[in-house]
Amino acid sequence: MADEAIFDKKKSHRAKHAGRKAEKKKKKNQVDQSNLSARQRNPKAFAINSAVRAERQFRRREDVISKKQHIPLVDKTPLEPPPIVVAVVGPPRVGKTTVINNLIKSFVKTNVTSTNGPITIVTSKKRRLTLIECNNDVNSMIDIAKCADLVLLLCDASFGFEMEIFEFLNICQVHGMPKIMGVLTHLDMIKNAKKLKMTKKTLKHRFWTEVYPGAKLFYLSGIIHGEYLRNEIKNLSRFISVMKFRPLSWRMTHAYILADRLEDITSQDSIRKDPKINRDVVLYGYVRGVPLMKDSMVHLAGVGDMKISELSYLPDPCPLPSSEKKRHLMERERQIYAPFSGVGGIVYDKDAVYIELKGSHSHKQEDEETNEKQALLKSVVETTETVDEQMQESGFRLFSGGTVIYPDMVKDDKDLQNRESQNNESSSDESDSGDENDSDNDSGIDQSEKDTTGKSSKLPWDNNSESDEDDEDDEDDGNDEAKNLQVDKLYSHENDSDEIDEEHKSSDAEDFSIKWKEKLGEKASLAYFERQKTSKNIMKLVYGEFEIGNKRKEDEDGNRDEESDEEEIGGLFKKVTSSQKRKQADKEQLDLEECSYFYNRNKPHLRDWTTEENKKLIINCFVTGKRGADEDAEELLKLDDASDGEDEVYGDFEDLETGEKHISKQQPEDKTEEVGSKRKAEPTKSDILDKKLKLKAKFDAEYDNPDDHRIKGDHSYYESLKAEALKQSQLNKSVFENLDNGLRVEVEGFRPGLYVRMLFKNMPSEFVTNFDSSYPLLIGALNMAEQNIGFVSCKVKKHRWYKKILKTNDPLIISLGWRRFQTLPIYSKIEDDLKCRYLKYTPEHVTCNMHFYGPITPQNTGFLALQTVNNNSNEIKQLGFRIAATGSVNEINKSTQIMKKLKLVGTPLKIYKKTAFIKDMFTSTLEVAKFEGAKVKTVSGIRGQIKKALNKPEGAFRATFEDKILMSDVIFCRTWFKVDVSKFYAPVVNLLLPIGAKNAWQGMKTKGQLKRERNIKVEANTDSMYTDIVREPKVFKPLVIPKELQKGLPYKLKPKEKTSTLTKKNIKEKLSNRVAVIKSPHEQKVANVMKMLKTNFEKKREVQKASTAERLKKFKKQQEEEEWRKIKRQKELKKKICRHLSKISNKKQTQM
């Protein structure tokens, strides 16, 4: 071993101290290596060795990058987003309610006894949750899937995934996949640790294949005292509160509301008179998705399409904490709001009051707020009618002894006044910004009245028109009366937070402001008001007349009632005359010719723009004119000069080529300054500094980034798209930010995050009487044209788990958009010529087309189809999987073109050479005439054409073929027959059903169902029955060779005689011709002997054969024995030898 060590000894490395390498190293060590990237330290390692490989690398990198890119979407979440909807879904008895209770407890630290309907809680400074439980009904599952942002999919681990879970996942996939988290419960039921591990693993992988690989699956390992482990719930809640969401296309185009509160405001009296009377129902909830427009149609899932008759926003019942800088939520801010389950802060609005007892400790601390609340509460509780009604009834007296004025009348006047001003304004020139004074004495009075109504009754339209009224206040400053009254009205009643709004307040108090404005001399604020006024005025110019126009109907009803009052008021308001004036003006407008030019037909006298003073006005609109400071090249140049300091690059210089001298021009600059208005001329120091900084940043960006030297793909297009989307979303958020709320709602709609109140009139009474809060109340807004009904064409695929195939015209329940409805679909297939060919059944495993009559929905919207939404357990068991098909919308139309293939069959009547008369295809000459020129075909493939109808057998025609056809041929004519889609559309109205039977909606039944129920059987077509086929043997005609041909044939082939033409008669003839042979006695004897000999010989041979066989057998046996003996002997010999050998070997071993 020692020797080897000596041989292994290697020479130690001796670093070079001189020469090329040493120099290199020295140079390298001069630079500090520690903060250099690998690329900079060792550039050679990153150099391109092979162009091909570099290209491949580059390509791969680009592929990876582009795979990561998504189309940039405009982020539409508002500043204060609505609560996130967390739905807890799962089959019955998996512990959904327990999970909700535990989550609430962990977030809000309160115990909730009953969980019913949506529960909104504040979880963090920026996030609220709405928890909702999904019951075991397909209808609810569908509605929940349409509105949930996050789904907790509960599963009993001891049982495994049930069909409901897969169904729910499928529903989600169709309507836009929300975030999904799986939760395994009942893990303590599995005692065996190994089995538990296995179950977890298999369930996890099954879950991953359904959702996406790596989807989060929670394990709730057991229940202690009816609660899950605190740690696990804490974890779950953490995951929930950091979850991020991606916008879903349907919800980014539609507003929706998950109603969390319902009130029936129909008067008790009318209900008592007729319990089935249509109800006026108020629903409450947070707006989600996109802004909700005021007069849009909505669909109430499970009820039908509705029009919101009144929409207003309310203060948030469960507000996010104020934006103070704090780390944690205060105890007080951890709010919970759940009217259906009887918890939530005290909330009072128009219709009702909510009181909530917040846990046990909330009673102790009675702060100001609660005191105030209680006081208010007392006053509200005592009232018996809604505030609406109160307002309507509360009269108002201006002067002692004057008439009592009701709000209805006031509205009328307001309408009138706006109209008046509108007319004035529209008639005046464009340049005046609508600063008229309504110099009528009475104008001030009726305004003040308006204001009182506006403030005290928080009707939504008043809310909105508030700003409008304020303008009017601004306009008539000189009216003392108005002022005095305004003082009263301003502070007569509590007002909402809007008033605190800075600009609002200021414009409100415009009258007073004049004084302090003067005092403070704030020019800026003056300008601000000025601007405010004009901008409002222009809106009033356009929409002023309109805002009340909405209420026109009601007003007109009111008008009729107050016919008598009007006379009285007439004296004061001069109503009659003004309304006449308005009518006059309207009439003038009524039948004018429309013209989109700025000046209508009456062309004004145009200014002569060529005159000097007029010219000055517009000279700056041309490129030759003066520009803004940041655009003007000269200014920019000057800026550059200044920043460059002394070196005058753009100063005087001489162009050497032309010999032209450029002198920095001072004179023209001065001239332009004279002409144009004054602009910033001298670049200030800060400008220069800015510019320098900008340049430096640019330089830094270019040179500091070492990766810039690598070859990079061009992602500028994607980047620009992204930037555009970002810019748009910022604009969306910022544009209306400082608009007052009433106007903002008008312009933008009710933005998501607002808590709104919706009044629906004429709802079916069953909706209220059969109301069950465990069913979600989803209110989805419908966009333009979506309330209409038309023919929808879509592509559809039968679900692979659904057991049956679907039949055309069998009723099908479709969940599309917000709606669920039953309709009669027709399946079809698009042929190569884009014709829709009717199919009787859906094909398996491929998509086909489907047409149905239903609501118009944008293209690419997903839908799913069910055959029944009934929760009959037998039926479910029979079906297994309830989702029959899924698909998406292709096209909308008002008519359909589905063609069914139709084969007309006819038989020949008479055949000429290539012409034939065909019968039985048509029944009349007219029909034939329609099909003249159509192609026909025989079964054997001979093609032809229909020529003309025949007279005699009605419906027969003449046709020509490419060859002679046979009488036995059947002639086909292939045609297409248009199939109409039946106009049947029935929304699923499961919310109207009685409480126990909400999951038992039954629409139209299929024909098969009806037949089964009534035990109707179809008569079998005897033609289709199987019978034994009896085939007669075919008799062919004999071959006849023409005589001419026979002549030419060689003798051998010539038919010799007429043997071939055999008939029975001939055979007899032939036999009769034959001669019988009779032998002589000698011959007979000889023959006899011969026969005997032959027999003898044969017998002998037989015996011989038998003996030979026996002998052979014997011999074989003997040989076998011999062989056997031989083998035996050999075996023995082998044995002997072996024994001997082994003996020898044994001996040898012992020696060893």
């Binding site: 405009v74 185009t253 996109v290 802004p291 427009m293 007069d295 029009k307 464009e430 340049s431 910004s433 601007r531 222009i538 809106m539 110019l541 356009v542 929409y543 309109f546 126009g549 909405n550 026109r552 109907k553 407008q589 009524l590 039948d591 429309e594 989109s596 700025f598 037909r601 145009l606 002569d608 723009w609 000055k616 006005l617 517009i618 000279i619 700056n620 609109c621 490129v623 030759t624 004119g625 208005s677 748009q728 969306n732 544009v735 209306f736 106007l743 312009v747 709609g749 966009n783 333009m784 044209a785 038309g790 118009i856 944008p858 293209q859 292709n890 096209e891 909308i892 139309n893 008002k894």
Partner: protein, 379 residues
């Protein structure tokens, strides 16, 4: 005159703004009813050109229903789905048609319309103006120009017409939101003078006069003459001019003028015509804004029909027609614009004369309704 809503049917009175109402009804899919059409006139009921417009709408839609009362004074219109495709229509010689422009992007198939009739009219926007001022606006909304085209095959002056144009428009699923608050400065002026069945010198005289005015402001002025002969010149004589001012930000202002009709007995001097048109263009330039004043409504429509995003545009003073249109937009679509008067930064604006000079600019802001082209087919 706001509409009265009777179970989801908008009821209007009078024949004014007939075109607007039909157009918006078609786009929104809402049924309308128009009553008292010229009921107090000697010749009550719809005019021929209005019936003609209904015919055209019927051609490009599927499933529209029109019911006219016996006297023709009331009309019920229930729109169908826009189809588009190949359309040939002979328009009435009384009035022109701009409706197709607004409907074009929302058809099922790309629109390819051949329209025959009057190409230049006193009250309506002429083809030249549409081509030069309206198409660039549409282009801003659809961004990619694949087949947006307006071709003047033949010109036709009133009263007999005889002109023919081909309008092609691509279809879009939705329009993009538009922000434009700058319009730049006028950098060039172009124009076309057409002379139909009149002496070519007329055209040259018009050019000279118009150019004379415009050269005061800008050196870059080119005005073409379009002297039509034979069949291309339509059926009746006339001449006219249209001037286009292009700004540095690709905004186009257009003004036009035409000679008096043949039968009217008035005489129009070419010089006067040229000068008048030039002054009108200058007036238009003064008004400024991101669009020509006669296409403000088109801009408003497309802004309102955009995606659910904010669009904002600065336009010159609103014309009466635009105001009416905005009211209609509110009724049909529920869109309300935020309108602000924009003040220039100059402090001198309080000065009386200056105030008049720098015309009032209005910033229109709105959130699109998220209108999607429901008739387009996806495969």
């Amino acid at each position: 005159m706001p509409a009265i809503l009777q179970n989801d049917v908008l009821v209007y009175k009078g024949s004014n703004l007939f075109r607007q109402r039909l157009l918006l009804a078609t786009l929104s899919g809402r049924a309308i009813k128009i009553e008292e059409i010229r009921s107090s006139f000697d010749d009550p009921g719809l005019r021929e050109y209005e019936v003609n417009l209904i015919r055209l709408l019927d051609k490009i839609t599927n499933g529209s229903r029109v019911e006219l009362s016996e006297t023709g004074t009331s009309l019920y219109f229930q729109p169908g789905i826009l189809i588009g495709g190949q359309v040939t229509h002979s328009c009435c010689t009384q009035r022109g048609i701009e409706v197709l422009l607004a409907l074009g992007p929302f058809c099922k198939e790309p629109l390819n319309a051949v329209l025959q009739g009057v190409t230049h009219h006193e009250l309506d926007v002429s083809v030249d103006k549409v081509k030069s001022a309206a198409l660039p606006i549409l282009l801003k909304f659809i961004l990619v120009d694949d087949g947006l085209e307006l071709k003047v095959v033949r010109r036709g002056a009133p009263p007999l017409g005889g002109g023919e144009i081909v309008f092609k428009c691509p279809v879009r699923r939705h329009l993009r939101p538009l922000q434009c608050s700058k319009w730049g400065m006028v950098k060039r002026i172009r124009g076309v003078v057409y002379a139909l069945r009149v002496s070519p010198t007329m055209a040259n005289r018009v050019v000279e006069a118009a150019k004379g005015v415009m050269l005061n402001f800008l050196p870059d002025v080119y005005i073409n003459t379009d002297q039509c002969r034979g069949a291309n010149a339509g059926k009746s004589p006339g001449f006219g001019v249209s001037l286009v001012a292009e700004t540095t930000d690709k905004t186009f202002y257009c003004a036009e003028a035409k000679s008096a009709e043949v039968g009217s007995g008035e005489q129009t001097l070419p010089e006067d015509l040229g000068r008048e048109c030039a002054h009108m263009l200058l007036d238009e330039v003064r008004r400024g804004g991101a669009v020509d004043s006669s296409f403000q409504w088109l801009l408003a429509l497309w802004m309102a029909l955009g995606q659910k995003d904010v669009s904002e545009c600065v336009v010159g003073p609103l014309s009466d027609y635009t105001i009416k249109f905005l009211q209609h937009l509110k009724e049909f679509f529920g869109v309300m614009f935020k309108l602000e008067v924009l003040r220039s930064e100059d402090d001198e604006s309080s000065d009386e004369e200056d105030k008049f000079a720098i015309a009032q600019k209005i910033k229109m802001t709105c959130v699109g309704i998220g209108y999607v082209n429901i008739s387009k087919r996806t495969l």
